[in-house]
Subunit: 335 residues, 2 copies
């Protein structure tokens, strides 16, 4: 059977370059013992992908030239030589950007499609949701009445983080780009204040929105926003860093905050993390997220691009901030 | 009675400028109730002073133009209208750079001059010693067998931090400038490895000295050393930041580490602090430091400049790293 893949031809220079990507059609190989064939339904498009196609030391090895592009995906088992999986099971894992794939059983996790539509397991009920959940609840530990600032607050990670802080009783200020996203933060997510970084001076807007300074900042953008926040942090404040999307496309020239000394003068704690720190605790996230979503207390939205051939567009879209909600690529047959 | 003071005329521009300082001779004012007159013996010269003469938001308000320059000092009470202090008591506190001063009783703390020579209470048994002690033991929490890197390791703070890590059983790599300081790190402080940042590539030297990467970095210099260390940190490593001497003279142009993203990719924790976080716990530091020093297990050395008129030289010396040991200014009569 023929499958379709997106491969990375070679490492891009600085910035995403379209000629990095190659659409190929290779037959699916036969299964060995302990392997499973999966028809993919949906692929997750994440800012972290730019790190995976950067040939330098990071939290996981980069994609190899000519290799299928790494991605999370969900799909259904079509054939199994594993005792752990049966035909029809819904699974997730690092499936790569492809329509069909063969995987070792250890590379996949079953998902319970009776809980929610499968694509939710790539959104609020998936890695990005878990990232927002653990980053805010376990590292950030927001307390009632604290002022919490969340950047990229309408995004896949930030929207969950912001809602977790709200649920803890914090006063939450969200930063997002454009009036539509800011309206969403206030009317849908119920945040206390929304700052449109595309249409104001973020430092001034933050100072207005946080007259008592900032107890906790959930950072997934870095850059100038981090600098603005550093100047407004409360004594012994906390900063959780889960990425720096504003600088992903320019790793080599990424800058640290010029007012880094605030870390000393204000006795700040900065903690970085990725989901690899929490893989063993995923059930805790599901236990909180699923009922909150079912009750309507937790909002999550997805922005779905159709067709594997549109991967290069979707990849660029996320760095331009054009998606509204978790960006997904539907690669399976329309359902 | 006439006293002699060093005053800050006005805020300097970038970098220490000699015309910032003014030597004045003003009579000592009469004591009000609850006040104490002190003849100062020794003044502490600290890198943090540059922050105190920078007119921007920091952990304490800057010195006011024409005001006596802020400094820690030790001296002896010559007159008291406080029930808490008697003539002859040794005291310490923010005394300012002057030969004599009048202070409110709340601004002073008694020191026990029977434990050690008074100047030690500005060195290893004073604020810098406490800073090294709490920063390493309470924040850093080194464990047996861990690789710990200490910058400015021959300095007043770093030398205590390094010895606390050694006492905890860690493998300690010290960074200092020049062969004399590096010899001191190994022969006197017993560190496992010393790196002379003035005579090698720090990144290469660190990579050689830390083949298993770095568990814990005690940073008091920032700048390029912090960048080099960030590239070598172990997964979930810790960084304690207690200052950034390499950038104190250029606050406006201070840079954050360009590889700040390592905080995310390696799940690092960065914690900044100053002694104000630990003022209530000083007795714990004394309890550990005094017996360790008396037994000879803990080494501390001072570099004493004589004469209040030499304050401007001493102030510049610390930013050039020319002092060997805690830099002190003797302002009292020769003892």
């Amino acid at each position: 059977m023929e499958a379709t893949q997106i491969r990375m031809q070679d490492y891009p220079g600085v910035g995403p370059a379209r000629d990095v990507w190659l659409l190929t059609h290779d037959p699916l190989r036969d299964l060995a013992d302990g392997e499973v064939a999966v028809a993919l339904d949906t692929i997750s498009i994440d800012p972290g992908m730019s790190g995976w196609i950067t040939n330098k030391r990071s939290y996981m090895p980069p994609v190899k030239p000519s290799g299928v592009m790494r991605a999370f995906g969900v799909g259904q088992v079509t054939q199994s030589r594993s005792a752990l999986f049966s035909e029809g099971d819904w699974v997730t894992g690092f499936t790569g950007v492809q329509t069909h794939g063969v995987y070792r059983e250890a590379a996949l996790r079953k998902i319970d499609a009776s809980l929610a539509p499968p694509q939710k397991f790539l959104s609020g009920l998936g890695m990005t949701g878990y990232t927002g959940f653990f980053g805010m609840s376990d590292i950030g530990q927001p307390k009632e009445g604290e002022t919490v600032v969340v950047s990229a607050a309408s995004g896949a990670v930030g929207s969950i983080a912001a809602q977790v802080a709200k649920a803890a009783g914090a006063r939450v200020v969200g930063i997002a780009g454009g009036p539509e996203k800011c309206a969403y933060l206030q009317s849908e997510l119920g945040l206390d204040h929304a700052i449109d970084y595309k249409n104001c001076n973020v430092g001034d807007a933050l100072a207005n929105a946080c007259p008592d300074e900032i107890d906790l900042y959930f950072d997934s953008v870095g850059g100038e926003t981090l600098e603005a926040v550093l100047g407004l942090m409360k004594y012994q404040g906390r900063i959780v860093v889960c990425g720096a999307i504003s600088q992903y496309d320019d790793f080599a020239g990424a800058k640290g905050p010029s007012n880094f000394m605030s870390v000393v003068t204000h006795s700040l704690t900065i903690r970085g993390f990725t989901m690899r720190d929490y893989m063993h605790r995923i059930p805790e996230a599901i236990e909180w997220l699923v009922p909150a979503w079912k009750d309507g207390r937790l909002k999550m939205r997805e922005h779905v691009v159709e067709g594997i051939e549109n991967f290069p567009d979707a990849y660029e879209m996320i760095f331009r901030g054009e998606n509204h909600g978790k960006l997904l690529l539907k690669v399976g047959a329309p359902s």
